[in-house]
Symmetry: C2
Subunit: 399 residues, 2 copies
C-alpha cells in the first residue's frame, strides 16, 4: 500500500494559502483577522474537495473529518500567522496533512483527519485554540483574554460564529496526532539534513532577576566603593556559563535576552539592573537542576558584591515527550526516504502538539528552515524538503 | 595677619541663598530661570554689602570686584543648580568666596574677587558660562545652543540683558582662581576626613561600542550556533576588568552605565547590543593606555565570538593639573587646621576650575558630601565641615 503524494498539488495549495494575506514574501494572517477567516473558509473548501467534512468549533479550530466511522489519525497544525509572519509557519503542517489525507484516500490507505488550530501564534496568549480544545484552558476563561489592542477573545471569536458547525469534537475521535512543521532553527539547514523527528518538546522556565546596588556619580565614586549592579550582572553571566557546562547537553539552551539598567546613563553607575533568564530542555530533572544553579549563582554574586537580589515572575512549562510508536513510524520512513539525512531532535519552540500529547499519542516532524529564519517575511524552505517531509508523513502511515 | 571668618554670617548667607528656589531640602534654580536670576540679584547685593562692585557680563556670569587696583585672587563657583539640585553644589563655593573676601577685608588681608559662573550645570552643554569667559566657547557659537525644551542660549541670556554691566572682564584682572566645592563623592565622608586638596581634575574619555551578532529564536538555536551580542558584552566586561588592573591607580575609574539590547525580549537571542564605556583619570598617558586596552579588548571579544564591532561618539576631555603654589598654600592651611584629616585627591567631576586653569594658576578645595550624595535633594554637608572649608581657604591667603 504505497501512498504516493502529489507534489504539484501540495505546492499549489501552499502557494494558494500563501496568497491570502500575502505581504512581500511573507504573510499577515493573525488569528480572527479577515485574512485568517478567509484562509479558513478556503481551507474548508479544500477539505470538502478532498472528501473530508469541515467542522468549525466555537474556538475557531477547523477540522476536516473523514466520512469513515471509528477512530482515525489526526494531522495538522495552524493557519494563523504572526502579525508579520512567514508563509510556512503552521501553514506547512496543515497543507501537508491535507495532502497526506488526499493521497491516502486515493491509495486506499487509512483515513486521516486534518486540523488547523486557531491562534497558535498567541494573539490571545499562546496556543490558544489547541489549549481550549485539549481542555487546558476553559472557554469561559479564554473569553476574557485581551489582545494588545484591547479586543477580547469572545469578541474576536464572534466574527467566526456564523461558520461554527457544532461543539468541540471529542478527543476520542482520534487515535493520535502528527504535526509537521518547519524547524524554525538552524540545525537541519546547517548540518545539511532534510528531516527531523522530534523526540520531545522542550520545557521552558523563565525567571526575572534584579540586582540592586548604589546609583552614584561615575566620576566621583572610586571603584572600591561602588556597588555597580551591571558589573554584578556581567560577573553572574560568566560564572553561570561556567557552572552550567557541568549540567547541560548540547541541545540545552539558556538565554538572557532582556536587560534593563537604571538610570542607564553613561555618567551614572547603574544602581539597578533587571534581567530575565530563560532556559529550555527536554528533561524536567535537568530543568530543575538548572533552576537551582541559576538561583544559587545569582545569590552568590549578589552576596559577594553587596547587591540586593530580587526574583520574580518565575514560570515553568514542563517538557512533553513524543509518542514512541509514532516516532518509530516516522523514523522508519525517514530512514527509507532520507537515509543519513535525518536526525532525532528536540523542538525548542512550543507547538500545538504539546497540548494534544495530553490526550493522545502525538509526534512531530521537522523540515529545514533556510538559515534558521522564522517569524520573519524571509522564512523559507527548499521545495525538495517541503515535498520530502510530506512523503515521510505518508510513508509513516504505511507502518 | 590672621583672617577670622564669621561662621554665622557664612551659614546665614548659605541658607538665604538656599531659600531662593527651595524645594524640600533641595533647590530648583537652573541657569536663567526666575530663581537663578533672583539669586544672582541677591548675590550682587551681598557683594555690594561686602564692599565689592558687582559686574554682570553678557553670558550672565556675575563677578564681585574689590575696589583696589591691580591683580587680585579670584574665588567662587556657580549659583545655578541641576533641574532638581542640592543646596550646596556650586552655592558653597560662591558663598565661601564671599565670606573669605569679607573676612580678608576686615582683617586687612589681600583683596579677593568673587564669581558665580553661569550654567555650570549644563542647561546649554557643560560649564557654559566659564567656557565662554575663558574663550573656549565663542559667544556667537554658544548663542546657537539649545536646551532640552528648545530654548536657545541667546534667548535665555536676553532675560538677564537689563542687568549686564559691561563686556567680559579680562582674565589678567586676576592672579589666580580658587574654587571650593562639595566633593560630590564618598571618599572624605567614608574615610572620616574633612578637607580634600584637589591635585587634578580628571580627564574624561567616552566611547560608544556596538556588538552585532545574530538575532534568533531562544528555543530553536543551539548554544554552539549562537552569535549572542549580550554574551559578548558580558565576556568583554570581565576581560576588560582583568586587563585594566595592570594599568590603573586606586583613583582611576571606568564605568559602563548605558547598555541597550535589541530586541530586548526574553525569548529572543539579542543580536545587537550597544554600550557606552567612560573612563576617567588625572593622567593623559594613562587615559591613552586605557583607550588602547578597551578598544583591543572589544576587538578581540568580537573576533573570538564572530560578532561585528562598531565604535562611535568618542570624546576626550584632557585632565587639568592644579597649580603647585596654590595647592601648597591650601595644603599648608589644611595641615594646620585639620591635621591628619585631609588628603590630596583628584576631582572625578568637572568644574569651572578646569576652564580657569587655561588662563591662570588654579586650585580647588573639597569638603565632604554626606554619603557621597549630590545632584539630589538629599545632598548635604556637616556644618563643621562647611565652616572648616572656608577657614582653610582664608588661612591659605595668609601664605
Amino acid at each position: 500500500m504505497p501512498i504516493a503524494i502529489n507534489p504539484q498539488r501540495l505546492l499549489k495549495d501552499l502557494h494558494d494559502l500563501r496568497a491570502i494575506g500575502a505581504s512581500g514574501n511573507g504573510v499577515i494572517r493573525p488569528a480572527f483577522s479577515d485574512t485568517d477567516i478567509e484562509a479558513r473558509q478556503w481551507l474548508a473548501g479544500r477539505m470538502r474537495d478532498a472528501g473530508l467534512d469541515p467542522a468549525f468549533d466555537p474556538a475557531g479550530n477547523l477540522f476536516g473529518l473523514p466520512p469513515e466511522p471509528g477512530k482515525c489519525l489526526l494531522m495538522g497544525s495552524h493557519s494563523d500567522t504572526q502579525p508579520e509572519g512567514g508563509w510556512l509557519d503552521g501553514a506547512y503542517g496543515v497543507i501537508a496533512a491535507l495532502e497526506v489525507s488526499r493521497a491516502s484516500r486515493e491509495a486506499g490507505g487509512p483515513p486521516v483527519a486534518v486540523v488547523s488550530f486557531q491562534d497558535e501564534e498567541g494573539r490571545f496568549g499562546v496556543l490558544t485554540g489547541s489549549r481550549i480544545w485539549a481542555g487546558v484552558l476553559p472557554l469561559a476563561e479564554a473569553d476574557a483574554l485581551v489582545d494588545t489592542s484591547g479586543v477580547t477573545f469572545v469578541e474576536a471569536r464572534r466574527r467566526m460564529e456564523p461558520m461554527v458547525t457544532g461543539d468541540f469534537l471529542p478527543a476520542d475521535r482520534f487515535s493520535g496526532f502528527v504535526e509537521a512543521h518547519i524547524e524554525q532553527g538552524p540545525v537541519l539547514d546547517q548540518q545539511g539534513e532534510s528531516i527531523g523527528v522530534v523526540d520531545a518538546i522542550v520545557g521552558i522556565r523563565t525567571e526575572r532577576f534584579r540586582f540592586t546596588g548604589a546609583q552614584n556619580h561615575a566620576g566621583t565614586t572610586p571603584m572600591a566603593m561602588r556597588r555597580d549592579a551591571f558589573q554584578g550582572l556581567a560577573a553572574f553571566v560568566n560564572d553561570l556559563n561556567a557552572r552550567l557546562t557541568g549540567i547541560v547537553t548540547p541541545t540545552t539552551v539558556w538565554t538572557i535576552g532582556h536587560v534593563r539598567l537604571h538610570p542607564n546613563a553613561p555618567s551614572v553607575i547603574p544602581g539597578d539592573v533587571e534581567f530575565t533568564v530563560q532556559w529550555r530542555d527536554g528533561s524536567e530533572a535537568r530543568l530543575e537542576a538548572m533552576t537551582q544553579t541559576i538561583r544559587d549563582c545569582a545569590a552568590e554574586t549578589a552576596a559577594a558584591r553587596g547587591l540586593g537580589l530580587e526574583r520574580s515572575d518565575f514560570s515553568a512549562l514542563a517538557p512533553t515527550a513524543m509518542d514512541g510508536g509514532l516516532m518509530s513510524n516516522l523514523s522508519g520512513a525517514a530512514d527509507r526516504l532520507a537515509p543519513g539525512k535525518w536526525r532525532r531532535m528536540p523542538s525548542g519552540a512550543l507547538h500545538d502538539a504539546a497540548n494534544l500529547a495530553r490526550l493522545m499519542p502525538t509526534a512531530m516532524l521537522f523540515v529545514p528552515s533556510i538559515g534558521g529564519i522564522s517569524h520573519d517575511f524571509a522564512e523559507d524552505t527548499a521545495e525538495e524538503h517541503l515535498v520530502l517531509g510530506v512523503q515521510v508523513l505518508a510513508a509513516s502511515l504505511e507502518a
